[in-house]
Amino acid sequence: MSESKTNKVSRRGFVKGAVAGLVVGAAATYGVTTLTETKPITPTMQPLEKAPVNGKTVAYTLNGSPVTLFVQPNWTLLDVIRKEIGLTGTKKSCDYGECGACSVLVNGKLMLACMMLAIEADGKEITTIEGLGKDGGLHPLQESFIRNKAFQCGFCTPGMIIAAKALKDEIPNPSEDEIRRAISGNLCRCGEYARAVKAIQEA
């Protein structure tokens, strides 16, 4: 078993076959067999160019600003937001669409960025946690999360706040049950659900 997805055919495993075929056998071996010496081994290979194989230039409106960039067909929106664009508030925890840490809004709809390919979002409006507050201030949900101490380690918090934003956009005054349902896809291992529900209610 490898660290890549083993229990099921993954989205990325499915896509990556085509790409791997292009690079296999193209270059020399850089493997290391004996490492008793402490001298670092200097790699001779240059970083791979982002070859425009099957790739595409996409344009987003990200947190209100236009962004144009070149993406490969198997890149997820999550990896593009985090690595290519450099906004790291959107978190990667499971990479399977099970934990909600990577929640973003795409054209105002709640989406899991790890389950969406970057090319699918072409031409769309994307909102991440960094884009919630206006003019450098905090969004009422962010203020309420602080006021209600609705987080501990904070790793699920951006995703949970985005899920709450999607709920409030649809139902401005949600009931306790509606809130519990709306954030039920956001796993919080610290168990701060009760105070999060209160924070969303009071935002």
Partner: protein, 791 residues
């Protein structure tokens, strides 16, 4: 009835006035955490960074015949592929190789690592590595593993040795406690009850995966890892693993770790990142997948045999506990687990005749690490279930039966420890009141039945002998930096340190910054395990502030024509008490040209060693006796109301309440620990968590199939109660605990105790609802139906 999210005050006799301690204070990282600006290790990006991925074994017990990495090495973009042969037999904690050495002992053991230009290339290369196994018989059951003739021997020859019964081939440690005469006790009993309790393997499932970034330049290694024991475990372990002196390795952890719960108590991704950086000379990132993060740590399985003898008037005459723990394939901190587990059964109750036998053995399961309460929850599962069963059998009130067998203040328990500062009974009374124990249950209708339960718990909040040392750095501009080795993985521990310093130096909290771990500057104050940081590090910080104040006052006294003891400081100025108009700013009291003043503070946290044959606390080599196997304990109680469906076996939590005997330092943080812990690692573990396997192959390594509690599984905030019963004074036991002084009033660690009563709690409430006793967790619908004879 204090509900979660409501501001309450915890008070007691002679409570000192404070600016921050004992109140609700926002975590210092709050604004960054809600805006996505908080930097976790996975967010660190260095130029020219390479990526590391791990090839893991697909056999749980096998000889490794051949590992072929040639195809992976020839893949374009792959920089290095390393196996155990390349790095040598580097062992972590005595028996665990970084990558499987000749043999694999659990499904998912690292076999090889790939370093590549991108994550994708590294993942592709993993698929090109082939491994040939010669499968061996595995052993999983904790009792089979402990046998004199087990079905498999996990380590041959044995690398670790037990103090007792070492002839058992898989035994890591046997511990025992003996008091009185068990046979006599049972003979004097009117009722004897025997039960077997079981809790399975579970995993930590922190939301931030295991991740590390490393950079090797100029013969020095700079490394970040998502870690809770950076200073005491990760730093020295990684240095040893890559064969470098510790001073050439600089270990850093950001001020927030995305959850640890015990699972980040030793380096994981850091071991691979360190090797990759050293070998390639380039910056690297190693981020485990969700599966990898589940495979590298877990909590062991426990089977517990309980036999109790009790008189008709409710006195426990004899209690016999025999425990088998399946400790996984490598030892790690298992020794400590077996030792500490003995403290739980004797923390609240007194027994005339008592015995405890704990067998901890190797199995072919994933290696374990402490998981929030480090065995105490599993032991409490048995103890607090038995208390419930016995009380009900005798027709006694549940709290009255516990009170009757409670160890009185100042008395000696079965481990030769003095009981002190305990308020469990009041905790029980408060939680019962919170859920409306004396009021009639609302009718549920149909096949839903309502029940109520309660359970108590106790846990040490100090992890052994230690001498934590902290530093405070006062600047001329009136600001303070607090230097410790405190890890903050969500408990708000750094904010707690800042609050202690702000109150001790009487300055606004905004002027205090508690620094995250950087081994170039941090001092040793222990780490985030054993619920100890508030006490150990907090005590040292308080002492350091006293030292800084002394220096300020010594320097100020001649300038103010006064004596140091007549001075006082507020908001960065020193003046004679009652005369704040003649104040001197700190900056003018820093001698010479120094713009800073450094205060240091150390405390000594002792505990006793124990007699191997009887488990009794005994004096150390110098004859010191503290009557404490661990310096400090906390106590708590929980209650809940549940609905159980007798057709489907579903269980719903209707109300939950938690009370601890504590004087909390930051109520915002402790409320969260108490309720979040009871929810996720308490009731959630009780209801749904189990790491299942088929002949060693794990079946639920993702969040899709490893079920954990969501917001739908808990009641809303109006039915969640959290409270504190002020304890009856600090447990000093002759030990100087600075946090007993001044404003710090004996705050007790509350990170782990929240999950202690919960397994028994749920089973107690379910029995009240449907009249049947379940003794195995998780209490799934299938188990409920089976108990009802419907499946």
């Amino acid at each position: 009835m204090p509900k979660i999210g409501e501001i309450k005050e915890v008070t007691w006799e002679n409570k000192p006035a404070t600016r921050y301690v004992g109140k609700y204070v926002d975590d210092m990282d709050s604004p960054a955490m809600v805006t996505g600006k908080m930097e976790y290790v996975a967010d660190i990006q260095l130029p020219g960074m390479l990526y590391v991925k791990i090839k893991r074994s697909t056999a749980c017990h096998a000889n490794i015949k051949r590992v072929d990495t040639s195809a992976a090495k020839s893949l374009s973009g792959v920089i290095a592929v390393l196996t155990a042969e390349d790095i040598g037999y580097m062992k972590v904690f005595g028996d665990e190789p970084i990558m499987a050495w000749e043999k694999t002992r659990f499904y998912g053991e690292p076999i090889a690592m790939v370093v590549a230009e991108t994550e994708e290339i590294a993942e592709n290369a993993l698929d090109l590595i082939t491994v040939e196994y010669e499968e061996l018989t595995p052993v999983f059951d904790p009792e089979d593993a402990a046998s004199l003739t087990p079905p498999a021997i996990v380590h041959e020859p044995k690398l670790v040795h037990s103090e007792l019964e070492d002839e058992r081939p898989n035994l890591i440690l046997k511990t025992q406690v003996r008091k009185g005469d068990l046979e006599k006790g049972f003979a004097e009993s009117d009722v004897i009850i025997e039960n077997v309790y079981y809790s399975p393997y579970i995993t930590h499932a922190f939301i931030e995966p295991c991740v590390s970034v490393a950079d090797y330049t100029g013969g020095e290694l700079k490394i970040w890892e998502s870690s809770q024991t950076s200073f005491s475990v990760h730093h020295p372990t990684i240095a040893a693993a890559v064969d470098m002196p510790v001073d050439k390795v600089r270990f850093l952890t950001p001020s927030k770790v995305g959850g640890g719960f015990g699972g980040k108590n030793m380096p994981q991704a850091g071991l691979f990142a360190a090797w990759a950086a050293k070998v390639t000379g380039r910056p690297v990132k190693c981020e485990f997948t969700r599966e990898g993060s589940h495979l590298c740590v877990s909590r062991p399985s426990w089977r517990i045999y309980m036999k109790d003898g009790v008189t008709n008037d409710g006195v426990i005459k004899a209690r016999q506990i025999t425990v088998y723990c399946g400790g996984g394939s490598y030892c790690r901190f298992n020794f400590d687990l077996a030792r500490k587990s003995a403290t739980m059964p004797v923390g609240d109750y007194d027994y005339e005749n008592y015995s405890w036998d704990c067998y901890l053995s190797y199995t072919n399961d994933q290696p374990m690490l402490s998981l929030r309460s480090f065995s105490i929850q599993e032991i409490a599962h048995a103890v607090e279930s038995q208390m419930d069963i016995l009380a009900k059998k005798l027709g006694m009130d549940l709290i009255e039966f516990r009170r009757k067998n409670f160890l009185p203040e100042g008395e000696i328990n079965a481990l030769n420890e003095i009981q002190g500062g305990v308020n469990t009974i009041e905790c029980l009374e408060r939680v019962a009141n919170d859920i409306g124990w004396s009021t009639p249950k609302a009718s549920t209708g149909g096949s839903w039945k309502r029940g109520r339960g309660l359970a108590a718990g106790n846990m040490y909040c100090s992890a052994g002998v230690t001498k934590p040392l902290a530093m405070v750095r006062l600047t001329g501009s009136g600001n303070v930096e607090v230097i410790t080795s405190v890890s903050d993985m969500g408990q708000g521990a750094l904010t707690t340190m800042a609050m202690i310093a702000a109150d001790a130096l009487n300055i606004p909290l905004e002027r205090v910054k508690a620094l995250p771990i950087d081994t170039q500057i941090s001092t040793y104050t222990g780490s985030a395990f054993g619920s100890q940081q508030a006490f150990h590090a907090g005590g040292a910080v308080f002492e350091a502030c006293k030292d800084a104040k002394k220096q300020l006052f010594d320097n100020a006294a001649p300038l103010l024509n006064s004596k140091p003891e007549d001075l006082e400081t507020k908001d960065g100025q020193v003046y004679v008490k009652g005369a704040p108009e003649n104040a001197i700013p700190w900056g003018q009291l820093m001698l010479g040209s120094s713009p800073v003043l450094i205060g240091t503070g150390e405390i000594f946290v002792p505990c006793d060693w124990y007699d191997v044959e009887t488990g009794q606390a005994i004096p150390d080599e110098e004859g010191n006796m503290w009557y404490r196997r661990y310096a400090l304990y906390g106590h708590n109680a929980q209650a809940c109301e549940v609905d159980v469906n007798t057709d489907t076996g579903e269980v719903k939590i209707v109300k939950m309440a938690h009370c601890m005997d504590n004087r909390p330092i930051n109520l915002a943080a402790t409320d969260g620990q108490l309720i979040g812990g009871m929810a996720q690692f308490g009731l959630g573990v009780a209801m749904m968590e189990e790491q299942t396997h088929d002949k060693g192959r794990y079946l639920n390594l993702t969040f899709l199939d490893y079920k954990m509690l969501t917001s739908l599984d808990l009641p809303g905030p109006s039915n969640v109660f959290v409270d504190y019963a002020p304890h009856k004074g600090p447990q000093t036991m002759g030990i100087h605990i600075p946090t007993n002084e001044g404003p710090f009033h004996a705050g007790r660690g509350s990170g782990e105790i929240p999950m202690v009563p919960s397994l028994a709690l749920l089973e107690n409430a379910i029995e009240d609802a449907i009249g049947v006793r379940i003794t195995e967790v998780p209490v799934t619908p299938a188990r409920v139906l089976k108990a009802l004879g419907k499946a």
